[in-house]
């Protein structure tokens, strides 16, 4: 698509859209429209995000002082457990796929809906039921096993609500599986004529990779949780050392899913960044095929590195070697992505709108998260930093610095399409800045305190770690503000925001060729795709670098 073909920005009259297609509760709760289901997800995960954030706040407050004086040890243990469970299973994993993926994958490939709309709605209901189980567990005493549910503590020693929480995660897992299945089938069978695999936006590629993990990994965590539940309720022994069972086997099974789950969180965010950077540079993404295959490579390699969580658990030295080696390999596709995004900006036309600021933030924080991943992949260093705050800082750089920056960037990027309104730009830029500063202030000190040796999941700690913890708590309060701001102004903008034009960023994706907000059917006529992804200028004109 050449420059002249980019639709001009012009105001559009009020029209029928998916938002005004029906106003009753039923029209939402029984909808099969992927866009409405995406909004249902958005509301649910926003609730869980702030719930998990509340737990984080209490954790940080407790850690202001070394003595452990604000909360009881038991309460603290429940708080970090529920922070982990809520954030990982009920916010991060569904965040970008179930909201932005759900909303935009069909639109990006020129389809009217996902392949299985009813299954999509069912996924949301399953998610809600799983969430209710977990909420029930939280309200009725909470869980104190850590989100990792390590045996034999979870099967034989904890007296907290392990079963309802585990059942909640088990159920929610099926929601992930069905979402992943739906995406895979949709991407395979529902592409519009002319939408070949290598014309797909990279957001779709990264969701295809994510869906592979959903489909292949989630059942393993499901069966692992089932084994824990059977052991706890029926005293079937699977990991019981008294029977010769091996508690470390649980860790293998758990991380076989939960390591790839990290990529479930970050791959979609990479997909968002791969949309934002070309749009706000007005250039085709540098090395499209490499970025696309890097997503697949990360998903595949992600399944082979789980053992790096067990370097100090007593697995054989040689297993440690192999897992360490493979973990370093994951760094390569990640580095390829970062270099390509950066190169995309070269000789671009770069605009500093809010989504681009989040993309900058993502690239910076993900780079730090990825580089510190090399530290923990390195056997000699991991022995020291394993289970310390170093690891906490590392994975928050990936999961919060990466995934949440990506999510917020994506929400701002597509907000005009989702809501038909513009968010307030100045305030949004300010919030993005606050999030970035608050995040670094919260988590950077944790690298230092981690290398000093402060173990994770400590309710009280030796006094020499205090200053760094105070810094971290101070940063967390700034970060908290950064998260509340978008919630407030986005809600505000739904009513008072300026009306959005169809394609405010002059992006090239199919989703921008529909009205904002889109009609229920997305496209009145199935589009026929004749151009490449991100083709701001014809590819024949392109100068090849490198």
């Amino acid at each position: 698509m050449s420059a002249e073909l980019i639709p001009r920005a012009e105001p559009s009259p009020p029209r029928a859209s998916y938002l005004n297609a029906g106003y009753g509760v039923k029209s939402w709760l029984l909808t099969r429209d992927h866009k409405r289901i995406a909004l249902l997800y958005m509301i649910s995960i926003t609730f869980f995000f702030f719930l998990g954030g509340l737990f984080a706040l209490l954790i940080r407050l407790e850690l202001l002082t070394p003595e452990g004086d604000l909360l009881q040890a038991e309460t603290y243990n429940k708080l970090f457990t529920m922070h982990g469970i809520v954030m990982v299973f009920f916010f991060l994993i569904p965040s970008i796929p179930a909201v932005l993926g759900n909303f935009f994958i069909p639109m990006m490939i020129g389809a009217k809906d996902l392949a299985f709309p009813r299954l999509n709605l069912l996924s949301w209901y399953i998610f809600v039921v799983g969430g209710l189980f977990t909420l029930w567990a939280i309200v009725h005493g909470g869980v104190d096993t850590g989100w990792t549910f390590y045996t034999p503590y979870s099967t034989a020693f904890s007296s907290s609500r392990v079963i309802p929480a585990a059942v909640g995660i088990f159920i929610t897992g099926f929601s992930s599986i069905l979402t992943g299945l739906n995406f895979i089938v949709t991407i395979h069978t529902m592409r519009a004529p002319g939408m070949t695999w290598f014309r797909l936006p990279l957001f779709v590629w990264s969701h295809y990779a994510t869906s592979m993990i959903f489909v292949l990994g989630t059942p393993v965590i499901a069966v692992t949780i089932l084994l824990v539940a059977l052991e706890r309720i029926l005293h079937l022994g699977f990991f019981d050392p008294a029977l010769g069972g091996d508690p470390v086997l649980f860790q293998h099974l758990f991380w076989f899913y939960s390591h790839p789950a990290v990529y479930i969180m970050v791959l979609p965010a990479m997909g968002v960044v791969s949309e934002i950077v070309p749009t706000f540079s007005r250039k085709r993404v540098f090395g499209y095929e490499f970025v696309a295959f890097a997503s697949i490579a990360i998903a595949v390699l992600g399944f082979l590195v789980w053992g790096h969580h067990l370097f100090v658990s007593g697995q054989s030295v040689y297993a440690g070697l192999i897992f360490s080696f493979l973990s370093f390999l994951v760094a390569i596709p990640s580095a390829v992505k970062v270099f390509n995004w950066t190169a995309t900006m070269y000789k671009g036309s770069i605009s500093y709108r809010t989504p681009m600021l989040y993309a900058f933030g993502f690239i910076g924080l993900f780079t730090i998260g990825g580089l510190t991943g090399l530290f923990v992949a390195s056997l000699g260093i991991d022995v020291h930093v394993h289970d310390t705050y170093f690891v906490i800082a590392h994975f928050h750089y990936i999961m919060v610095g990466g995934a949440i920056m990506g999510y917020l960037g994506g929400i701002h990027y597509w907000w005009p399409k989702i809501s038909g309104k513009m968010y307030p730009e100045g305030l949004a830029k300010f919030a993005a800045f606050v999030v970035f500063v608050g995040f670094n202030l919260t988590f950077f000190p944790q690298f230092i305190v981690g290398y000093l040796g402060m173990p994770r999941r400590y309710h009280a700690y030796p006094p020499e770690f205090q200053v760094l913890n105070v810094m971290s708590t101070a940063g967390a309060s700034i970060l908290g503000l950064g998260y509340v701001l978008p919630l407030a102004y986005l809600i505000w903008s739904m009513r008072y925001g300026k009306d959005a034009v169809d394609n405010p960023w002059r992006a090239t994706g199919l989703e921008w060729q529909t009205p904002s907000p889109p009609p229920t059917e997305n496209f009145p006529v199935t589009p026929v795709v004749t151009w490449e992804a991100y083709e701001y200028r014809p590819r024949e004109e392109a100068q090849v670098i490198g």
């Binding site: 040890a73 034999p152 010769g244 390195s378 000699g380 040796g453 590819r539 490198g546």
Partner: protein, 343 residues
């Protein structure tokens, strides 16, 4: 509030300086790449900022050479991390032969430690400077992890198996022991101290223990008490394998496999005797699961180990040959195991 701001942990073991060297190397490389990306982002963002609303920049396609370059160069650098880290890891997992032996049992929420010659400690570990110390660890309940930041040393303590780890302290002082694997309510209170002493001070400390008998001789008593010797005996009436010289030897199992008899194997054979049957014996041994405590099993293991050591005929049977430490001056603790041993 304490206002001191330590940025780097104590360095008090031989391995610590090696770990730190790799750590600094990684920091240097990481800082380089992080700055590279940051500078490129900022320079591009400023230099190529949008100057008019309608501009469409020239099209640029990525080429293969550049992609290969920024895949292969990071890969090569990552491999240096890998090999260096693996080298240190190997060293961490190869205890020297002449290490002092200490046995550790973790339980919610304390560390119980016992030295080879019987000295017991709780949440404290006294070791001499400049001597390798090997810990053999297990747990009575859940998984714990024995972590001494100043030694850059950590190992999970898993119920049902033995974990071994070693260190050699280089600087006298008092260093934290943390439990770093979440283990329940008072996980954060499962903290202890390693007290690294000068050799003389250590000698004074260890000889001030008084009265405790060595692990191996306590194990020998247990061996009698549970009538293990009625089956495990060297003569023709033996219904179980003879345990003399067993430790560290290849064992042929009834199902054709062979394995080396180590601590974990001996432990398993006590609690789950039919799991790995020795060739030529019947599965008649009952399980001692729940009948002997983890500490008791450790004593039995120490005893069986002592049956394989060439005996210098002194009270130092658990200390490696050639060690310079004189036998503790406690004639009363002449090991009971002495009579079982063949010269």
């Amino acid at each position: 509030m304490r206002t001191d701001l330590p940025l780097f942990p104590d360095r008090a073991s031989t391995i610590a300086s090696q770990v730190d060297a790799l750590y600094f190397y990684l920091i240097t490389v990481s800082a380089f790449f992080a700055l590279l990306i940051a500078v490129l982002l900022i320079v591009f963002a400023i230099k190529f900022r949008r100057r008019s609303e309608n501009e469409i920049p020239p099209a640029i396609e990525g080429g293969l050479a550049l992609e290969i370059a920024w895949s292969v160069i990071p890969l090569c650098i990552a491999m240096t991390f890998f090999f260096w880290g693996a080298k240190i890891y190997f060293r961490m997992n190869r205890p020297p032969d002449d290490a002092l032996q200490v046995f550790v049992v973790g339980k919610q929420w304390m560390w119980k430690l016992q030295h080879a010659d019987g000295m017991r400690e709780i949440n404290e570990l006294h070791v001499p400077v400049g001597r390798p110390v090997q810990l053999t660890m297990t747990s009575e309940d859940v998984i714990h992890s024995f972590f001494v930041p100043a030694f850059r040393m950590k190992r999970d303590v898993v119920p049902g198996r033995y974990a071994t780890v070693w260190f050699e302290a280089t600087r006298p002082g008092r260093y934290h022991i943390f439990c770093s694997q979440y283990c329940g309510t008072n996980h954060a209170k499962m903290i202890g101290w390693v007290e690294v002493l000068e050799p003389n001070a250590y000698q004074n400390w260890i000889s001030g223990g008084g009265g405790s008998e060595s692990l191996a001789s306590a194990g020998a008593k247990l061996f009698q008490q549970h009538a293990c010797n009625s089956c495990h005996r060297p003569d023709s009436l033996a219904r179980g394998p003879n345990l003399e010289g067993l430790f560290g030897r290849q064992v042929k199992l009834a199902d054709g496999r062979t394995l080396v008899a180590d601590e974990t194997y001996i432990r398993e054979s006590i609690v789950n005797p039919t799991a790995k049957m020795v060739e030529g014996f019947q599965p008649i041994m009952p399980t001692f699961q729940g009948l002997i405590s983890e500490e008791g099993i450790l004593q039995l293991v120490a005893y069986i180990k002592s049956l394989s050591k060439p005996s210098p005929g002194s009270g130092t049977e658990m200390l490696p040959p050639g060690n310079t430490m004189p036998a503790p001056n406690r004639p009363g603790t002449e090991p009971g195991s002495g009579k079982e041993r063949k010269p």
